[in-house]
């Protein structure tokens, strides 16, 4: 098991981006159809994908 390397920057950078993307996903489908729906789907699919990625890359 390797010691974790300290990442650069604030630990809140990723949550801030995720929160901003979530707001975009929530609002997008509300303001229009078609491409606006697709943006919402892409954002929320990406969020689910982040959890899947964390699970796949887990350290045992």
């Amino acid at each position: 098991m390797s010691r974790p390397s300290a990442p650069n920057g604030s630990p809140f950078t990723a949550p801030a981006w995720i929160a901003a993307a979530s707001v975009l996903g929530l609002v997008s489908a509300l303001v229009g159809d078609g491409i606006f729906d697709v943006v919402s789907w892409a954002v929320f699919a990406a969020l689910v994908g982040l959890v899947v990625r964390a699970w796949v890359k887990r350290t045992r």
């Binding site: 929160a19 229009g32 919402s40």
Partner: protein
């Protein structure tokens, strides 16, 4: 972060989470089928072929008469239209102020007036789940209680985010360590899923809390804005013979070009005073179809009385509904909404596990301090 600060946030996170977790689990579990309520309702209905080109709409007054023939002795309360199906519903009740649980609804083909077989909205498994989700069968007190749980959930999310900082200061985003101890694995899982669902869960939690005050907000709107028009009819009894519904809707359509009627409230139902039809018009975009524009039509003369603008708090309420239900981006959004709901359940269950395996508060605060300084935990 100072130890006292960590301890304060830890206690806020612990107690706000603990108080609301069981109710949040109930909300997430009951919310799951409610996301697909429309699809489940359609599955439960007998399959009927829709004509490719439906005929012209039948006169609305005839539609109401057909509905009343289904429920003799009742009075009409609301009528409404499904823009995606050629149907019109008519809510009826024994009195004008019949509450929703006692209403009887007829679903009619908009062109032919044929009664479409459909379950009552206030009966069956889905209604049971809805009541459990919204008010625990306790009415307004239950709703307000669930709203309070939603607010506690929001505080738990924010305090959890504050604690996420020291935990993750020396870890890469998405770190999930499953090989060291079971507790650390659950803690990492709680952090990863919690931070990914952060924005979504915060919005769904807060909009859910806003929805719980819908009845008080509607009552305030009734007394403030509609009361102004009702004052002109002070001392007059509620009319028993009403002007044509069809003419009222036609007048509203002429007054609000480019919009379509979503539903109409009859006098005495609490949505348009005792002397008016309230024709609630909607736009054609996902946003404007949520922001109803009421058109008040005198229920005796059939003349236009007013088109009051919705107050800001009613607009906030109406916009908070889709943001809570997730029903505005077609089926793919509903499926993703359900997945995020399942992830929120995972956050709640992992949080509960961490509380069961908690040890004492000082040990947990020390754990957070150690994670901040060295990256080690548990």
């Amino acid at each position: 972060m100072q130890r006292t600060t960590i301890k304060a946030w830890f206690l806020i996170h612990k107690w706000t989470s603990l108080v609301c977790t069981l109710f949040l689990l109930l909300l997430c579990l009951t919310g799951l089928p409610l996301i697909f309520a429309e699809e489940i309702d359609h599955l439960a209905e007998p399959h009927a072929e829709q004509p490719a080109a439906p005929g012209p709409a039948r006169n609305f007054d005839d539609q109401v008469n057909t509905a009343l023939a289904q429920y003799p002795g009742n009075v009409p309360l609301f009528v409404g239209w499904d823009p995606e199906a050629n149907t019109m519903y008519v809510n009826t009740g024994a009195r004008a102020d019949t509450p929703p649980p006692q209403m009887k609804t007829a679903l009619l083909d908009s062109s032919t007036g044929a009664v479409v077989p459909a379950a009552q909205f206030n009966e069956g498994v889905m209604y049971f789940i809805l009541r459990l989700h919204t008010d625990l069968f306790l009415g307004l007190p239950g709703m307000l209680f669930m709203g309070l749980m939603g607010l506690l959930f929001a505080v738990a999310i924010i305090s959890g985010l504050v604690l996420y900082g020291p935990f993750m200061r020396r870890q890469r985003f998405g770190t999930l360590r499953t090989g060291r101890s079971r507790r650390l694995a659950w803690l990492d899982l709680h952090n990863v899923i919690g931070v990914v669902t952060l924005g979504w869960a915060l919005v769904v939690g807060i909009t859910g809390a806003i929805n719980t005050v819908a009845k008080p907000l509607e009552a305030a709107w009734q007394s403030e804005q509609l009361g102004e028009f009702a004052a002109r009819y002070a001392g007059q009894p509620r009319p028993t013979t009403l002007a044509s519904l069809q003419d009222a809707v036609d007048t509203a359509l002429a007054a609000a070009p480019g919009m379509r009627p979503a539903f109409v409230s009859f006098p005495g139902t609490g949505y348009s005073g005792d002397h008016h039809y309230g024709v609630f018009m909607q736009g054609n975009t996902p946003l404007t179809e949520r922001l109803y524009r009421p058109v008040l039509i005198d229920a005796v003369t059939g003349e236009l009385t007013a088109q009051p603008q919705l107050p800001t708090y009613m607009s906030v309420l109406l916009l908070s509904q889709p943001l809570h239900f997730g029903d505005y981006g077609r089926l793919p959004l509903k499926i993703l909404w359900a997945l995020l709901d399942l992830l929120t359940i995972a956050v709640l269950v992992s949080g509960l596990y961490l509380w069961i395996k908690r040890g004492n508060t000082e040990a947990r605060v020390t754990e957070i301090e150690r994670a901040e300084k060295t990256g080690g935990a548990a």
